[in-house]
Symmetry: C2
Subunit: 251 residues, 2 copies
């Protein structure tokens, strides 16, 4: 299983992913699920993936082939030379459909779902930063001020903290913490989501991938976050007044 999350803020975008890949409980490996495509000063694109690892890797391999052979001044022929993020995402969707053509029939006969999901986001030149979710069918949606986060993979455990704590106006540094708590809550409730966590915090108009981190279970920061969160939650519950059953429909 996988959990990837992207938070669109007024100040920028936060991308977070776990690194656990499993094919059954006895075959757990670590694969980075976050890729950064960087042309400093021109475009920054972050890609995260969940679902069938074979399909994901096929999509990425087809994209890499195009990147390798595209001349520097060409437009619209690779993941890195599209005119805007929407076309970038459509390009990825086309590659996804190409992989569908290669593998979907055989997988269906074997009873395997064609499942591969992507989050793609970032900024191109002076265009507004944006994040997209691309579905297994190749179509996509983007975030908005009203619905400012996108998730793929094991998304339910980590959603309540986002619903309560995050909005488009949340400062970028706070969004990093909320995203980390969302990942860590998911990891605590589902063994198949695990560290290391990859984090990329993008500041609007910086057009560089400066703020990146990888946190594993030995990270003092991650340990502190977990301790403070656990302790804080229990204190917070304790501070809430008790239910008076005699005044609330009690008998």
């Amino acid at each position: 299983m996988t959990y990837c999350l992207s938070l669109l803020c007024k100040e920028g975008i936060v991308f977070l992913s776990d690194s656990r890949t499993s094919a059954g409980l006895d075959n757990i490996t670590i694969h980075p699920k976050m890729r950064l495509y960087e042309r400093p000063g021109e475009r920054i694109i972050c890609l995260m993936s969940s679902g069938n690892l074979s399909l994901t890797q096929s999509v990425l391999s087809l994209m890499d082939e195009d990147i390798a052979k595209a001349p520097a001044d060409e437009v619209g022929t690779s993941f890195l030379n599209q005119v805007n993020l929407y076309e970038t995402v459509r390009y990825l969707g086309a590659k996804l459909r190409a992989v569908r053509g290669l593998d979907a029939d055989v997988l269906r006969h074997a009873g395997v779902d064609f499942q591969t999901n992507f989050i793609v986001g970032g900024q191109i030149a002076d265009q507004p930063p944006q994040i997209y979710r691309i579905y297994s069918e190749g179509n996509s949606i983007h975030a908005s001020k009203e619905s400012p986060f996108l998730q793929i993979g094991e998304l339910k455990y980590g959603k309540p903290i986002l619903d309560r704590g995050f909005s488009y106006d949340t400062p970028l540094n706070e969004a990093v913490k909320i995203g980390l708590l969302s990942l860590d809550s998911t990891m605590k409730s589902n063994l198949s989501v695990g560290t290391p966590f990859d984090i990329f915090s993008y500041h609007t108009d910086s057009l560089e991938a400066k703020h990146r981190a990888r946190l594993d279970d030995t990270s003092p920061y991650l340990r502190d976050v977990r301790n403070e969160w656990q302790k804080g939650l229990v204190n917070l519950v304790h501070a809430i007044p008790e239910l008076d059953f005699s005044s609330n429909g009690g008998e």
Copy 2:
């Protein structure tokens, strides 16, 4: 959709359920999902249900028939005269299998899953209090000090707060608050779970159903809980130190 939750504590048991029943988004009604069977001083049994409402109601109707016709001194013939909670739960499982015999084939042909889940718990005489989850197949599991809560229905959104905030040693009054937050988090993240919330807090060896409440959106207590929780979470995140990207694998 439904969310029901039961928390086994050293001091007793907390039962909580929502009341939303939906058959598609345009057909939402309110059905209580919590039933209390009370023989004060002798046994208290709380039952909660999720899944296909028709199946749930059939199981309960068959059980009611037995209760109505069982003589007062009979043993082992109804939901309310079993020798212990395990036999009570096996009895329910047998009724569930009877309904399977009545309906499962026709439902399967219509493409409808045979889905009905129950939580049953309480105390009989001086036996230890316990909670059970009964699956659609009629088999069951019970909680333990190490795994002290059971959920049915839409369970993922409400699990992180339990994983962080609840243990067997949590005082009963705190468990009521944690359970309520688990329900409310689920309702916030999934529109098909909704108020009113039914709550029953059982004190071990009381053998009475004294502490009951029903909270809806107009409840001042529920409003206070929501406000304090939302405000408290944001403050808690704010108090956590910021991630220093330069010392954590940052470039």
